[in-house]
């Protein structure tokens, strides 16, 4: 989206006082009257711009008419009542924003002297005008006078609406790309996207070759982050002007833009039919302390805005009766299931459930629940679970209830006493709901934790209470086995907590929760189940420096322990075959990621400085029925033979390829060395000259050379008197 970021460049023109152009065009510039030059009509001077579609920024100027509203349906009054009406109107509209001096004008009929029944109001900012339009349109002054308020600038638009309806032109159908082509990879590989520095890259995870296989690379692809849609069809990027989705058969083409200036967060509906975007704006008016937020819901395929929500940050702050500062994302939570039918948000003493069909409130009203603090959807069915804390000074117990949508029927409710906090965890099939309950001890000085386990698929929804053996253990982490009946808990204080595994089934199948095992003293603070269950990575992130334990819950045995030093993130690929661990740029060092097999074997590592994101491309759920899957599992030997052969072949190809490329590198190096030797030889005499003729060059180095050094330690001169002088 680089082209979006550029601001439009003004067409280049010569001003008279500019230097003459270097190329001599044989034009006497003194003779040219610039006013005579006729430019071709249109903004582009008849020259088509290459920048496909530039979006002009909406300029927020204080001049112009964007801060003017037109109020219609005012009472028509006689001159003597004119002032009274004006003061009433000034009162109403002055509450919303600052009306400019002489910014209120009610035209008067010159013949009758009566007012004409409408007024123009000029605010200081377009935002105020916009708010005034929103809030006063439809305001009932009295029975017969309901205000119709419009932006002045919109009048043009309304005037242009043709009186006659003409059938819209039917666009010829152009088949789109196969957006699911990546699923048909012959080698069944998975894709992932990484973001580091200004770069964003998509790779195949080619574990057989022990390296990633690049798919697509782009610098400055996104302004803040990237995100896959839940089924992996689209990759979304974030920009100043809005969000965009990318996808395609071979590469990544832009599929759609979602205009939403200053977008901060996005969220796809589970079946990726809808996209929710969010932005917040600091108030432009200092008197206004509220942060304004805007939420848009788009249709992912058409890019059309289906519904817009505006309001102050408080209106969208989750968590009951206010007090919780800020907006927690996602504001709208989507009901599970494949049809994206409902979404909901929590408000003050209510939960608002919306239908996607009409984009309106379900049954046109919110569900009123006093003091509701938190809610979550079942991942598969339209069932809401709610948490309401204690109320009435402790007289009303806290409660968790399950609510059927759209009937609003309460399926189950559980009252809880002396509760400090609750967290709800749904199992991925919606079979179970675990509620972690923090309760005060009798002295109210400390808390302890227990679990309430709901079996939502069974008749009457039985609830079971689970308490840890050591009730005072702090719960560090909780995680359900995806699609399974087991869960894991990290509990305990101190640097080496314990990890316990439980099953919702017991050996004699009475539907009771049983403990499978407890692993004592593990350096772990996070749990990552494989998406197909059975395997789990017990990870010690942050303070534990990236300890990893790959654990098989079926056999209750450790498969491998490893370490990715400083690791901050652990991600399973959607098939449960590989695990990625990464160090993101919260650390300065070690940035990059490792790919492990599910057994904990390191396959490859890729260091990348300033590493921000690692995201596996999600896969849609399998089309095979559970029976078909079981069939495959039974005949695994037959299939595995085929793949083993393929593996072997590919490894042979790989090793020959590797040899080939290495040979090339060596040959290249050898040619350099040959060139250097030639030059070195050539320069030999010159070098010798520089060394004052000293012949030994590096080439003759290290020939042992015996040098006898005669050190004169002392020189003494002595005059020896000789008695044989007479011999001479």
């Amino acid at each position: 989206m680089a082209e979006l970021a550029e601001t439009p460049v003004a067409p280049h023109r010569f001003a008279p006082d500019m230097q003459e152009p270097k190329i001599n065009l044989n034009i006497d510039w003194g003779q040219v009257n610039l006013d005579d030059i006729q430019l071709p009509p249109g903004e582009d001077f008849g020259i088509k711009s290459d920048d496909e579609e530039e979006e002009e920024e909406i300029l927020e100027t204080e001049t112009g008419f964007s801060n003017v509203i037109v109020v219609d349906n005012l009472p028509v009054v006689a001159p003597e009542k004119y002032e009274k009406l004006e003061s009433v109107i000034r009162k109403i509209f002055g509450q919303i924003g600052v009306i400019r001096e002489k910014g209120l004008w009610m035209p008067v009929d010159t013949e009758t002297g009566k007012s004409k029944g409408y007024a123009f109001i000029e605010y200081t900012t377009p935002q105020e005008a916009e708010t005034a339009r929103e809030q006063t349109n439809g305001y009932k002054l009295d029975k017969s006078h309901v205000f119709a308020v419009n932006m002045f600038d919109d009048f043009d638009k309304y005037m242009k609406v043709p009186d006659e309806w003409s059938a819209p032109e039917r666009k010829p159908y152009t088949p789109g790309e196969n957006l699911l082509a990546w699923l048909t990879d012959e080698r069944g590989r998975d894709q992932f996207v990484v973001r580091f520095g200004p770069e964003t890259e998509v790779y195949w995870n080619d574990a057989r070759q022990g390296k990633p296989d690049p798919v697509y690379h782009r610098s400055l692809w996104t302004d803040s982050f990237v995100q896959w849609s839940p089924l992996g069809t689209y990759l979304a990027t974030i920009h100043r002007q809005g969000a965009a989705t990318w996808g395609g058969a071979q590469t990544f083409n832009r599929l759609m833009r979602f205009i939403h200036p200053q977008v901060r967060f996005i969220d796809f509906s589970p079946s990726e039919k809808f996209l929710v975007t969010y932005s917040s704006h600091e108030p432009s008016n200092p008197r206004d302390t509220q942060v304004r937020v805007t939420l848009n819901i788009f249709d992912v395929r058409s890019g059309k805005i289906l519904r817009e929500f505006k309001g102050s940050a408080d209106d969208f702050a989750t968590g009951g009766t206010g007090g919780v500062a800020g907006v927690s994302w996602p504001v709208f939570r989507w009901a599970g299931g494949r049809d994206d039918k409902y979404f909901a948000r929590i408000g003050k003493n209510s939960i608002s459930v919306y239908e996607t069909e009409t984009m309106g409130l379900l049954d046109k009203k919110s569900i009123k629940v006093d003091n509701v603090l938190d809610f979550s959807w079942s991942p598969t069915e339209p069932i809401l679970s709610l948490f309401v804390p204690e109320g009435g000074g402790g007289n009303q117990p806290a409660r968790v209830s399950l609510l059927q949508i759209p009937s609003r029927e309460e399926l189950r409710q559980k009252n809880l006493f002396s509760v400090s906090d609750c967290k709800m965890y749904w199992q991925s099939n919606g079979d179970y709901l675990a509620v972690k309950v923090d309760r005060y001890t009798k002295t109210k000085k400390s808390t302890y934790t227990g679990f309430e386990l709901f079996r939502t698929k069974e008749r009457d929804i039985p609830i079971e209470v689970l308490e840890l053996e050591n009730k005072n253990d702090k719960i560090v982490a909780f995680a359900w086995e995806p699609k399974g009946h087991r869960f894991a808990i990290i509990h305990g204080d101190g640097p080496r907590p314990d990890i316990s595994f439980y099953s919702m089934k017991s050996p004699n199948n009475v539907g009771r929760v049983t403990k499978l095992t407890t692993l004592k003293g593990k350096q772990a603070n996070a749990l990552y189940w494989s998406p197909i269950g059975r395997f789990i990575v017990l990870a010690g992130l942050k303070a534990y420096n990236g300890q990893l334990e790959f654990y098989n819950v079926d056999e209750l045995e450790t498969m491998a322990t490893a370490e990715h030093f400083m690791a901050t993130d652990v991600d399973w690929d959607p098939t449960g075959r590989y695990v990625a661990t990464s160090v993101t740029s919260v650390h300065q060092m070690e940035n990059g990621f490792n790919i492990w097999s599910f057994q904990g074997k390191l396959i490859y590592r890729l260091p990348r400085d300033r590493f921000f994101q690692f995201l596996w491309r999600p896969r849609p759920p399998t089309l095979l029925s559970p029976e078909e899957e079981a069939e495959i599992a039974r005949n695994l030997k037959k299939y595995s033979k085929r793949y083993e052969v393929e593996d072997q072949e590919s490894s042979i190809i790989l090793s020959t390829q590797e040899m080939e490329s290495r040979r090339k590198v060596i040959d290249e190096w050898k040619s350099w060395v040959a060139e250097w030797q030639r030059l070195h030889e050539e320069e030999k005499p010159l070098r010798q000259e520089l060394r004052d003729g000293e012949p030994s060059d590096e080439e003759e180095d290290y020939e042992a050379e015996e040098v006898e050094v005669e050190d004169i330690l002392n020189v003494e001169e002595e005059v020896v008197s000789y008695g044989f002088e007479q011999l001479d």
């Binding site: 940035n591 010159l686 520089l690």
Partner: protein
């Protein structure tokens, strides 16, 4: 290969240099005394006393008679290797950062830091055999690069001067005119300050280490980028094996940022890479701080590393090292 620990410096090491015969090892440190050691057993021969600041760099003449050192006391000094006597002192207006003797040892190139309004500069000085005729005039002064010039060396036949430093650019200058001949490409070149630059034994190629966590191999004559070695740490020092196709790269987290939580966080390892395949072969641990200096013995059978911890570690390779297959 049990390393020999050379204890003698009181402050972090800055530079290491073997003489041509490989029997002497010269070390510079932030204490003020460059030291010479026997390269085979690490015995200390002596120190060169006279500097009044950290010593950043040194070079020794081909016949091992003279040593030149550059120091933060704003001087570069010539020494008699054998006696330790100071022969001459080139005085500057700012700290001397890098020194290198030319082929034939008749010239020295010295870089000085930007300091108190002075810009960084490269000076070429004549070194006279006759001590009494030694003068301080610069034959050539090159200015232009921004920031410190951390390394400056002579190109083949003294025709060029190669410099690199804080502006991350490697440059080749004409040694006669001082004209800029070549510059490394900002795209493929280093992205952060270059901290070291060492030539191969025959001077045909050289390796640079940079804070951008890479070391790069370049052609000395054409400044063609040959290889890039990627590490996870800022690179403070690099050296090329004269015997095998190996390079050794050292560095580590900056001392000021080393966390107290884990000694491994710093990863103060000297890492060996295959020069041609750019693949990591192995590492040598030991220092308690970043590695600031690395040098190969000219025979390629030992190397030494100097660290922020004030130690020089002298490693003689085991027989296994010479049979590494990759």
């Amino acid at each position: 290969m049990r390393p020999i620990l050379l204890k003698g410096h009181e402050r972090p090491l800055t530079f290491l240099k073997y003489n041509r015969d490989g029997d002497l090892l010269f070390s510079c440190a932030k204490d003020h005394d460059p030291t010479v050691w026997y390269a085979h057993n690490g015995e200390r021969l002596g120190t060169y006393r006279g500097h009044n600041g950290a010593v950043w760099c040194c070079d020794v003449s081909r016949d091992s008679t003279r040593l030149i050192t550059g120091s933060a006391d704003q001087s570069a000094k010539l020494w008699d290797v054998e006696t330790g006597a100071q022969l001459y002192s080139f005085n500057f207006e700012s700290p001397a950062r890098a020194v290198d003797l030319s082929v034939g040892d008749k010239y020295a190139v010295i870089s000085t830091d930007p300091f108190m309004g002075q810009t960084s500069a490269i000076h070429v000085k004549r070194i006279d055999k006759d001590r009494s005729k030694q003068g301080s005039d610069s034959l050539l002064v090159i200015t232009g690069p921004q920031g410190r010039i951390n390394r400056v060396v002579w190109g083949p036949l003294n025709k060029t001067i190669i410099s690199a430093g804080e502006d991350s650019v490697v440059r080749i200058w004409d040694a006669e005119s001082g004209k800029l001949l070549k510059e490394s490409d900002p795209e493929t070149g280093h992205q952060k300050a270059v901290t070291s630059l060492v030539k191969s034994a025959d001077g045909s190629h050289f390796i640079t280490g940079s804070q951008d966590k890479t070391a790069k191999l370049w052609d000395t004559r054409t400044l063609t980028l040959l290889k890039t070695y990627v590490t996870e740490r800022p690179v403070n020092a690099a050296a090329i094996s004269p015997l095998l196709d190996h390079v050794v790269i050292g560095g580590g987290q900056e001392a000021s940022q080393v966390t107290m939580s884990d000694r491994r966080a710093g990863k103060f390892e000297a890492k060996f890479f295959h020069k041609i395949y750019e693949e990591e072969i192995g590492g040598v641990k030991g220092h308690f701080g970043p590695i600031n200096a690395l040098a190969f013995n000219p025979d390629g059978r030992s190397f030494s590393s100097g660290g922020e911890d004030g130690y020089v570690r002298l490693h003689h390779f085991d027989a296994d090292y010479f049979h590494i297959k990759i």
